[in-house]
């Protein structure tokens, strides 16, 4: 029963996200709006963490697994990829490294500035 109750809350939030998606009319997917809805509900206390804790834990621990079918889908959408797969892969790898490196570096530098423990290194 506990698991069912938690599922009802999580799917309820997701449904609200999809409903708001239609109302807002911007290309913002319902899942992202659902994230915002859940965060607001947690902050104002309508939903408490322990009301969704077990199912959340299961979903978060296995989020990588849920990507498998999407990744396998690469074989069916390969017309564009087949012709230029190597440059596409290179751009993907290089840009990912750049984004993670630059973002991490900037946040760390700003954190040091904010804390004031020497922004000169």
């Amino acid at each position: 029963m506990k698991i069912f109750r938690q599922l009802v809350i999580i799917f309820g939030v997701l449904l609200m996200g999809h409903m708001l998606e239609n109302i807002i009319g911007l290309p913002i997917p319902g899942t992202i709006i659902g994230m915002v809805v859940l965060l607001i509900c947690l902050i104002i206390g309508v939903i408490k963490v322990d009301m969704i804790e077990d199912v959340s834990k299961f979903l978060l621990e296995n989020i990588t697994f849920f990507f498998i079918p999407a990744a396998v889908g690469i074989i069916s959408s390969s017309e564009h990829i087949k012709q230029q797969w190597l440059p596409i892969l290179m751009v993907t790898i290089l840009s990912t490294i750049i984004v993670i490196g630059v973002t991490g570096f900037i946040v760390q530098a700003l954190e040091r500035l904010q804390k004031g423990d020497g922004g000169n290194d």
Partner: protein
């Protein structure tokens, strides 16, 4: 045999088995390139090709698994909420960092694509690839890319970030927990965040935050930047 393959059970079963094998190999070898997702996807694709099973058949079960991505993305907010005080205290570095990250992603993808001589339509499909698949596909459609190609490169981006993230941090001496989380979330969406969660609670929360904030920023910035490029 086909009648058993042609049920949702096949897709679900092979995915779980392949993932178990992936996790096993990853744990035994402790080599991060042997990523569970990468291994399981390789196993499944090989199986489908060898036995001549098309993706649609596999996806009868696969779509059941994909369905759980929605709720899993929503509950990414839970670790974020647990770190909300930390977030408030560091809101400026975090927001500026995510903003710079989003700009870096779009600009670097654009110029790297030009450097490698990719077609315009492929460039447009790659531009939103750093953010979570639901958003990247929407943005791709919006700016004139091919959503299915965007989906594919979004997942590849996630796998790459998941594997290389910790190495980048070691090389560039990025030790700050918040910075590590924001970097992984910005660069590799939910799959980066999955890795961030392994690094620590703060990293995981910051990764989750990046997914939604970077996603939203991309919705607004990508069409504008693309119009600037042209």
């Amino acid at each position: 045999m086909t009648k058993y393959i042609d049920t949702p059970i096949f897709g679900v079963l092979i995915s779980i088995l392949a993932f178990e094998i992936g996790v096993f190999i990853n744990k035994k070898t402790k080599i991060s390139f042997f990523n569970p997702l990468l291994i399981s996807v390789t196993i499944i694709i090989s199986f489908l090709l060898i036995f001549n099973i098309d993706y649609k058949t596999y996806n009868k079960g696969g779509s059941i698994i994909s369905f759980l991505l929605g709720p899993a993305t929503v509950v990414l907010v839970v670790p974020l909420y647990k770190q909300i005080e930390n977030l408030k205290k560091n809101s400026l570095p975090i927001l500026v960092g995510i903003f710079v990250g989003v700009l870096t992603a779009i600009i670097s993808i654009y110029y790297l694509s030009k450097l490698f001589g990719l077609d315009e339509i492929i460039v447009l499909s790659l531009i939103p690839k750093s953010v979570t698949a639901a958003i990247s596909m929407e943005v791709s459609r919006e700016i004139g890319g091919v959503p299915s190609l965007t989906m594919a490169v979004t997942v590849i981006t996630g796998i790459v970030g998941n594997i290389v993230g910790p190495y980048i941090y070691k090389i560039f001496k990025i030790e700050n927990e918040i910075a590590q989380g924001i970097g992984l979330g910005n660069g590799a969406h939910a799959l980066g965040t999955a890795r961030a969660m392994e690094l620590g609670e703060v990293q995981g929360a910051m990764g989750s935050l990046s997914i939604s904030v970077a996603g939203l920023m991309t919705v607004f910035l990508a069409p504008w930047l693309v119009s600037l490029f042209n």
